[in-house]
Symmetry: C2
Subunit: 518 residues, 2 copies
């Protein structure tokens, strides 16, 4: 029963379990007390702090334990902002941070601060120059910048050391959210604060790390007490802390060899899924990435059905699609990258994942995807053939047009050729301009309007795909949709299919997305 969602929560490492058990007997006392049980708890806590500090590469007195990675982020950002309040109230974050960072940024905005969001490229990576621009261009002097070590949804590693250098030059502390990467290794570079979460590396839930380098101004916010240097209030969860530290050491000991092994399995998924499943976009940086994580999106598939299908096949994965039970909007990461969000699957392999599990996944995935597509009435032969050129069966792997490199530009070329095969299919509506596939500055009326109001992802895209050839080349189809995912997926579909995305127009309900047939 393969569990492929380590990036949400890793199964407990055996060392975590053993350490938790042992510390449950030895570490339940109050470490602030003078008696034996208290001293014993204090010794365990001190030793765990030393172990965790060694793994991070910091001094033990720079590291406190929090109740979760989320809490570490919230407390770290609030304390660092307050510590430099006199400098200014500017906060710089990347657009693809974990929601805990973005929630803290929202709270900062609500409290009157200024937040600047740094965008990413299509791989999800920030540019250090963009941080430099944000530090210079902020409406208010910047008190703190935040950057993840690696993205939690697409695996892309961020240029932390370079951004830290940019921040250092500007005199701004950098907080690094290392939740996804700390189990794999230290975060290099001159960062000022660092946060992490134990259950992401196989430690227990209930433990986060907050590291504040000596010399960094820090003023803990909210009510505090004497615990954890006054930086994290509440009775210390020592058994879990001991288990967190012990398991971090254990996963680090095997990190190098395991990273190599899992990277091979992930590369296999990256290469073979687009070969096995038509109309798939693999997202994230192809090389500068976490070793265990790969993400792809499947056209004409809804995330929830795909997750259910995989779950029935006993695969646990997560999705950045909207229309999963926990959200109705697509992942902010995919949105910031500008990539397809429908049918999104994140595979994150826990330590110890076998080759056989991955092979089984690759064997079962194509059937699960095509079942979902069939149920949704996704276009297969006709639209696919027209766009991709001569291909008898849209459901069969093409092996060329669907390869990772064949995204926007290759698909556009194919579309250019394929579109010639068909003539004016006689769509309804008054078509004014048929002047070729180039962008036309005039706002002609759409040749056809698709009403997808009330329909959830991926239906608006499927409706569009079904009618695109009903209008002449150069004519516009307008898709009326009120599902947020359409804003991301219609342009992404155009990119994949070589159609021209004209833009979004106001509508009485939802929005109208204009697409010109090429």
């Amino acid at each position: 029963m393969p569990y492929f969602d380590a990036a949400s929560s890793a199964p407990p490492h055996p060392v975590a379990r053993q350490a938790l058990l042992a510390a449950l007997d030895e570490g339940w006392g109050d470490p602030a007390r003078l008696y034996r049980e208290g001293r014993r708890a204090r010794l365990l806590l001190d030793a765990a702090r030393q172990t965790a500090a060694d793994a991070v590469g910091c001094r033990p007195d720079e590291l406190v334990f929090t109740a979760s990675g989320t809490r570490a982020v919230h407390q770290g950002i609030a304390g660092a902002l307050a510590g430099r309040r006199r400098v200014g109230r500017g906060l710089v974050v990347s657009a693809v941070e974990h929601s805990s960072v973005l929630h803290a940024a929202t709270a900062h905005t609500v409290a009157g601060g200024t937040v600047t969001e740094v965008g990413v490229d299509r791989t999800g990576r920030v540019a250090p120059t963009a941080y430099a621009d944000a530090l210079r261009g902020s409406a208010e002097p910047v008190a703190l910048a935040c950057l993840q070590s690696a993205n939690h949804e697409v695996g892309t590693e961020q240029p932390v050391a370079d951004v830290a250098e940019v921040c250092r030059a500007a005199g701004v502390p950098l907080l690094v959210d290392a939740a996804q990467s700390l189990g794999w290794g230290r975060v290099e570079g001159g960062w000022s604060l660092l946060t992490a979460s134990a259950h992401k590396w196989g430690g227990p839930a209930g433990v986060g790390l907050l590291v504040v380098r000596k010399g960094v101004r820090f003023a803990p916010q909210g009510p505090v007490d004497e615990r954890e240097s006054g930086r994290s209030a509440g009775f210390e969860n020592i058994p879990a802390i001991v288990a967190a530290a012990a398991s971090l050491r254990a996963v680090r000991a095997e990190a190098e060899s395991e990273a190599l092994r899992l990277r091979g399995l992930v590369d296999r998924i990256r290469t073979r899924v687009p070969e096995l499943v038509p109309d798939v976009e693999v997202v994230g940086d192809p090389t500068r990435r976490l070793p265990h994580l790969v993400t792809f999106s499947c056209l004409y598939v809804d995330g929830e059905s795909l997750l259910h299908g995989l779950d029935r096949a006993e695969f646990a994965v997560s999705s950045g699609s909207s229309c999963t039970s926990s959200t109705l909007t697509p992942s902010h990461v995919l949105r910031a990258m500008g990539v397809l969000s429908e049918g999104n699957v994140r595979v994150s392999l826990p330590v110890g994942t076998t080759e056989a599990d991955v092979e089984l996944f690759l064997e079962l995935l194509p059937g699960i995807v095509s079942a979902v597509r069939a149920k949704l009435g996704a276009p297969t032969g006709r639209e696919s053939a027209s766009v991709r050129g001569p291909r008898a069966d849209g459901a069969a792997p093409s092996g060329v047009a669907d390869a990772p490199g064949a995204q926007s530009s290759a698909a556009a070329d194919a579309a250019g050729g394929g579109a010639e095969d068909e003539g004016g299919v006689g769509a309804g509506g008054g078509v004014e301009s048929r002047g070729g596939a180039g962008a036309d500055a005039r706002e002609e009326a759409p040749a056809l309007t698709v009403d997808a109001l009330g329909k959830r992802c991926p239906l608006p895209v499927i409706e569009l795909a079904k009618v695109i050839e009903d209008v002449p080349v150069g004519a516009v189809v307008a898709v009326l949709a009120d599902d947020d995912a359409a804003r991301l997926d219609i342009p992404a579909w155009c990119d994949m299919r070589g159609q021209e995305y004209v833009g979004e127009r106001a509508a009485q309900r939802g929005a109208a997305y204009w697409v010109r047939r090429r």
Copy 2:
């Protein structure tokens, strides 16, 4: 090796251990996910919530799990205050709340709110009328009132139901900190919010409860996420939550019989310690109290030495004295009660404490106390005899003067008699008034000044006791001291010894405490 500090942290209940282990295997997944591991985690979380809600006597959707009892208090107070911000920013708390409540109150003051502190009587109990006065008399309309169910340092139960009624009549929600009592039973009465802490009842660390009754306005503060109804951010610690709920049910099942049994052992300590150890004040309400907790203070003893002595005898207890390694000020609870803080010992018996352990404690305590007193050069025969009347050996148990009832008034009577035995002992300084033991409005110069600057509790009191008979009856001894405990312990000593505490006077360093010999 008897552990008598359950009120700090109870040893894990066997059920907590078993449940934690089982849930570690089953409950590490993300309960927000749709796949098997997520659903399993969600089921465990839902079941734990139902169990905890049953124990509290609330609906499951009124209860969220937090990362600790402290966090429950901080989040509960902040959310309740914010929910009624439009009404006003007044907060009413008792003077003997847990530090987490007082820290939240301080944060509220810093943020511009108003805090009214309700005092307690000498047993540590609030009066409902005092809450009514505070609600009426607050400088700002009151948004929230807080009251513990029972005091964590002296065991006194608070009149929660009556105070809740007072609050209801005023339209003010009442938050009850039930950290010390929830394992023993539900909190009765019409409270609005309730907080608790699992490691106080034998559950694991890392779990608090926050209950917000339907209809109570509540606006969670700080960055939030979708977890725990948006009231407690961060990945849920499900194994610990499961263990917390299971152990709460288990301790409740045995609460009635165990309370009866422990109450017997506590009564034995309450009765026998003052018989066995001279100059002891047992504090807290004698009957309306937690079943497992008893607190007493020993004159002429420093808390740290006493804790060390008990620890060497393998007894783990805590102390509200200053001069323990964790604090230099006496407990705010003892201060609010106006009782002696020196040589303070809190005994809180965990479930399962044996009679033999308690008997051993009673056997060893007298020797430990007298060893500390001897080391400190505490007065024995002379001063003791003079104050207590004809008693050959001050160190021997008197069985009468030291009984609980023999506090202020009895001691004062004794002093009235005893003081006659001695004449003018020829103390230095010009004594103007010798006119009896009654308070004199005129400010005569002290007959003797004791310089106890730089000396820590209990030395200023010991110095005072050593010289009190060096001045004539009616003359004043001034004690110069800069240790905070003196402010509490010198009046308390006067009370116990039947001397007149004149008051505190300004001094170049510290303060001068004036005591008139009776």
